[in-house]
């Protein structure tokens, strides 16, 4: 990856990629097929990701939505090759045609941080508290490009301006503790963008932030994604956030994909009862005070136990015997709309 398109032209910020508004074309940037991640913990097998299949077209935003422990973070760490040695990964992760599963670490290193970058939930734990933020950004640039030191410095300031850190020149010499949470997350995004990645994975990148800051960071990410022609995997527990910012949404439950469609289609025609439950559980401004929320009972299953049938069946309002015995296939059942359910909402006359 070269540092093309970089000109130290003062404050003017150059777009890094092929420019904005790239329509999805041809083969997807990232293709995940039948991905499984197993952990062996205290003699038990925990299947954290169970046969996940999806694709990310270039320059698009895919929202990966689910509750804690549904496998959304584990599956994205598998893409980055960031899982601990105890994890057993099978299946296929192809990035621009290159297979990443079982890729030797020295090859993985050029992909990770270079072509695929990641932003985590807690910016204060991802930054080195003893180093000024400017050098931390410069380091990332020098690691992934062959820019000389002075040019890397200019580039770092450019990146800081790109992520709209106010007073970038002064901030360059600040330590992480001198910044607010929102500004630290902007620094993390600047570091992630250092190598002009084609794919950015934002793992609950705004969850730890305040509501107004969250909205600002999401707007920034969407703007950068469009300007730089980057693809974005947005991992969140918040369907509302996905509705506002994702092009397509994949809902996960118990390590599996359960519903996947372009955002508008998904929200207009929810098929999987789990997605319905997630949507109905969000407090909405239209609701009257003291109105009860539709809450499904129970909790997600323990992934250390082998699952028979649909994993959502113990909590599902539409459940039948078939659901308990046989897992529904996750497949395209309407154009561009995949789901895994025997009794989908709005289609099953029985419900």
């Amino acid at each position: 990856m070269s540092a093309n398109g970089l000109s130290p032209t003062g404050s003017e910020v150059q777009p890094l990629g092929d420019g904005g508004g790239v329509a999805p074309t041809g083969a997807p940037l990232l293709e995940i097929a039948n991905l499984r991640v197993d952990f062996h913990q205290a003699g038990r097998l925990v299947r954290a990701v169970d046969g996940l299949t999806y694709a990310v077209p270039s320059a698009r935003t895919v929202g990966l939505i689910g509750e804690s422990g549904c496998g959304k973070t584990v599956s994205s760490r598998a893409i980055m090759g960031l899982l601990p040695a105890s994890a057993h990964v099978t299946g296929s992760i192809r990035f621009e045609g290159q297979e990443l599963v079982d890729l030797p670490e020295r090859h993985m290193r050029s992909v990770r941080g270079g072509q695929i970058a990641m932003v985590f939930q807690d910016p204060s734990r991802s930054l080195n508290p003893t180093l000024r933020i400017g050098p931390q950004i410069t380091e990332a640039i020098r690691l992934h490009t062959d820019l000389p030191k002075a040019a890397a410095h200019d580039r770092a300031v450019e990146l800081m301006e790109l992520v709209r850190l106010p007073a970038a020149h002064q901030r360059f010499r600040h330590y992480p503790h001198q910044l607010s949470g929102g500004m630290r997350q902007r620094v993390m995004i600047a570091i992630a963008l250092a190598a002009e990645p084609k794919l950015l994975i934002a793992d609950e990148a705004t969850t730890a932030l305040d509501v107004t800051t969250q909205a600002q960071i999401m707007e920034l990410l969407r703007d950068l994604q469009q300007r730089l022609g980057m693809a974005l995997i947005m991992i969140s527990h918040d369907l509302g956030l996905a509705a506002s910012f994702a092009d397509e949404v994949l809902v996960m439950y118990a390590g599996r994909g359960v519903e996947h469609a372009p955002t508008r289609k998904l929200f207009e025609h929810v098929r999987m009862p789990y997605t319905r439950a997630l949507l109905d559980a969000i407090p909405r401004l239209e609701n009257a005070p003291h109105s009860p929320l539709a809450a499904v009972p129970g909790q997600p299953p323990d992934l250390a136990h082998e699952q028979v049938g649909c994993p959502f069946s113990p909590r599902c309002p539409n459940v039948t015997d078939k659901c308990r015995e046989q897992a529904p296939p996750f497949k395209e059942q309407e154009p561009d709309h995949q789901w895994a359910c025997w009794h989908p909402c709005g289609l099953d006359e029985r419900v």
């Binding site: 607010s180 107004t212 508008r264 109905d280 003291h290 909790q299």
Partner: protein, 342 residues
């Protein structure tokens, strides 16, 4: 109106900041002149972001630590300055539920011991009566005593642990529960379960809540009145119907614009149009209106004159020189002194 259950007036909480040598370097103005009332059985939602002082306010109400000045009256009893034993006695009517249930439950104790502890502390009933009461309380929060009574906190999920914390708070039959972000650490579906539980307890037991959260949509779900706090001050208080439909304070407008809508076709106002910059330091809050440095409507007068809380609609108060949607009525001519007290 009946006598308020809780009456908070002119509450101020400040903390001194010292450098390594112990030299005073500044004062954090965490809560500045906050007043409100809470009726029996009423829920007041308190909304604000990190650093707005909402948790400090809750703690100052509980006298942990006591506020620097101001008054907190619970059922007519002044709590500020109350001596230890009297304070403990008064506090039994007022309990608290925190954001992190695991942080507030001793990991070595069993569930039934955790729920029984307040009863022992206040010497309520005999041992047998207490046991019965613990079972009742666990049933009340939807936990089967025979299944969960012997468990320790680490054997519980987040939602179950929060139910135990709620059962503990209910043990002494309080009139008021202060809930500080009670569902923020829970997953969406579990969050809905716990919110519904809190609602059910409110109607069954006639509880009043001071419900603290950062999410305006969540607060609307549970509140009879909503108060918005910014940098240590209340900026807007009103009934949900008018506060959400016709927000008066520009900060409330920004908070509302920040809520991601679960409807992808809903029009979105970019947040950048409603708020700018970062939260100023509470050590040196801006002069005049504290929101002015981030406010798109700010004018010169906002820096020089502090807007006072005034009534602008039925039960609806805001502290702003230029309330949203009231341009004709309230906006003073630029540079003139504001005579806006009603």
């Amino acid at each position: 109106m009946t006598e308020p259950l809780l009456q908070v007036s002119n509450l101020i909480q400040e903390f001194t900041v010292r450098d390594r040598g112990g030299v005073k370097t500044g004062v954090v103005h965490a809560v500045s002149d906050v007043s409100f009332e809470l009726a029996p059985g009423e829920t007041l939602g308190l909304v604000g972001e990190t650093g707005s002082g909402k948790s400090t306010l809750a703690r100052a109400i509980l006298q942990a630590p006591p506020p620097k000045s101001g008054s907190v009256r619970l059922r007519g009893v002044e709590l500020v300055g109350l001596k230890r034993q009297k304070l403990t006695e008064a506090r039994r009517h007022m309990q608290m539920v925190f954001q992190d249930p695991f942080g507030s439950l001793d990991p070595k104790w069993r569930v039934h011991e955790l729920v029984e502890e307040p009863l022992i502390a206040f010497k309520v009933g005999s041992r047998g009566q207490r046991r019965t009461r613990v079972d009742e309380l666990l049933d009340l929060v939807g936990l089967d005593p025979s299944r969960f009574g012997e468990r320790r906190p680490r054997e519980l999920s987040g939602g179950q642990a929060q139910r135990v914390a709620i059962a503990r708070a209910l043990a002494l039959d309080p009139a008021l529960i202060i809930c500080d972000e009670p569902v923020s650490s829970l997953d969406v579906l579990i969050r809905a379960q716990v919110l519904n539980l809190l609602e059910r307890l409110r109607t069954e037991l006639g509880l009043a809540y001071l419900f603290i959260a950062h999410d305006l949509a969540l607060v609307k779900q549970v509140s009879d009145r909503v108060a918005v706090m910014y940098l240590g001050k209340l900026v807007e208080v009103g009934p949900p119907e008018s506060l959400y439909r016709e927000p008066l304070h520009p900060y409330t407008v920004a908070l509302l614009a920040s809520i991601p809508s679960p409807d992808p076709s809903a029009p979105r106002q970019p947040v950048a149009e409603t708020i700018r910059g970062e939260l100023p330091s509470p050590i040196d809050p801006p002069s005049g209106c504290r929101f002015r440095t981030r406010c798109p409507r700010a004018q010169d007068v906002c820096a020089t004159e502090e807007p006072s809380m005034r009534k602008l609609a039925n039960g609806h108060f805001a502290a702003c020189h230029f309330p949203v949607g009231r341009d004709d009525a309230a906006a003073p001519v630029l540079g003139s002194t504001v005579a806006s007290e009603s």
